[in-house]
């Protein structure tokens, strides 16, 4: 459903995205994981036709973003990082406006609005102006808006940024439901847990480049499923091991208090780059 071909974006002398190549299959949830400034948002903006690539291109549902942007726009739903809702309009009016922009049938719109507002748990608030909603509710409304015209591919840019843990879990539940419905999703995130929880495959990005791509479990299995760390000793390098027993045995030889924990995508990122993802 998505295929990028040497997708590149330069802002003057700054190379924001460097010849990125990846594919996303139908029904897959694919994550771009990386720290701020890695090029995730620029990539998503190019894929959603908001930013013109400097070179390279991408195909969305078989349509080229450069030569056929109108067809691309018809097949995508965009859930941006910024809460760009019309705050003077009610929830239902925001969705109605979106449906009109996408030329949805007049008869189809009311039912779809109800279906989506119920899906995101905001049906009871349908006649309230958006300005009265909390940040978490606005983000749920953005998800409903992005799905209004039944897109084949949905792009979510940092879908839970700035939300409290409870609101984040709620959004994760919605994305999980979407995943089960078979929709193709590309999301960007800098939250390790989010990528791990939601994505079928993850591309780890840093400084405009893709460092690696794979299923979270596969990426974590490369160096070992367990991490052995010396408590309070940052000078002792962490060890990656394939079994807990192996880790405990190795810990005895370290001569310090140790902790053995499951490997995370952050460990994978550190292994690849030598930096923390939130650095």
């Amino acid at each position: 459903m998505i295929k990028t071909i040497n997708l590149t974006k330069n802002f003057g002398p700054l190379a924001a995205v460097k010849a990125v190549n990846f594919s996303v299959e139908k029904g897959e949830v694919f994550g771009l994981l990386g720290p701020n400034g890695a090029g995730k948002t620029t990539t998503i903006r190019m894929l959603t036709t908001l930013t013109l690539p400097s070179s390279g291109t991408a195909l969305i549902a078989g349509r080229d973003i450069l030569t056929d942007p109108l067809s691309v726009k018809k097949s995508i739903g965009v859930i941006p990082q910024m809460l760009n809702l019309d705050i003077d309009l009610t929830l239902a009016e925001n969705l109605e406006y979106h449906g009109r922009l996408h030329r949805m049938d007049r008869a189809d719109r009311p039912g779809r609005i109800e279906e989506l507002l119920r899906f995101v748990g905001l049906w009871e608030k349908r006649d309230l102006p958006v300005e009265h909603l909390s940040g978490g509710m606005r983000r749920r409304l953005l998800i409903a808006r992005g799905l209004m015209h039944r897109p084949a591919v949905v792009f979510m840019d940092e879908p839970t940024v700035g939300l409290d843990p409870q609101a984040r879990r709620l959004i994760w539940g919605l994305i999980d439901d979407l995943k089960r419905s078979g929709i193709t999703i590309l999301l960007t995130t800098h939250y390790i847990e989010e990528a791990d929880e939601l994505c079928d495959r993850v591309a780890i990005m840093r400084q405009g480049k893709i460092m690696t791509i794979g299923a979270p479990e596969d990426l974590k299995a490369v160096s070992g499923r367990y991490v052995l760390e010396c408590l309070g000793r940052h000078d002792v390098p962490r060890q990656f091991l394939h079994s807990r027993d192996e880790a405990l045995d190795a810990g005895k030889a370290m001569g310090c208090d140790v902790v053995v924990r499951d490997v995370t995508l952050e460990d994978v990122f550190i292994e690849l780059t030598g930096e923390r993802i939130d650095a």
Partner: protein, 243 residues
Amino acid sequence: MNFYPIFWKDMLLIRKKPWKFLASSMVTPILYLVTFGWGLGRGMSMAGGTYLDFILPGLLALSAMNNSFGPVSTSVNVSKLYTKTIEEVLVSPVGPWSIALGRALSGMVRGLFSAFLLLIVGLASGVNMTLSPYILLVLGLTAFCFASAGVAAAMIAKSHEDMSNFNSFVIIPMSFLAGTFFSPDKLPEPFRSAILVYPLTHASMLLRALAGGREPDALSVIILAAYAVFFFYLAGRMVRRIA
């Protein structure tokens, strides 16, 4: 063209806050009417009538300009730079010309509405003028011209300060110099020719001729229409550039 959703949303916003819209449409023109018509202009006569008779057609043009250019440019500028609501439209299948047309038409409605209200106030104040459907056409053309200019300016502006500068260096001088408060014939050359560059001058001249029961100058119609076409073209091009 799928311009209607853009127009629909702007009309919906007006319907939600009618008093705010009414008040903001009326304040400036009524201030001008009170200051220059009833205050400064009391007892003055122009072209065989009162100064109020003279100034009202100019104020109608001014009101159409201010209430089409101002709200449209501010709204587009804010949606582009701050709220990013324009991005919802840019990722939809609505084309740049439809976006420009939807915005320009909603600005035209605002400009027409405020001019219409001012006309009612002016007539109620005893202003003598000949009413003709052509007045509505000229006001519509004026409002469309400046609403399109508002879309183009907001798309070109890179900051709120740019918009403010455009107002300070283009719109405000035009408000005072384009024959709203005086007849361009009174000015010496080259100033007379210079102010004929402004589209508002031609709007004022056309409305003044129609209000006085005279035949409007065809050249002014052509110039005003040419400006409307040019500004709309520019607006469409500028939207296309960011889309």
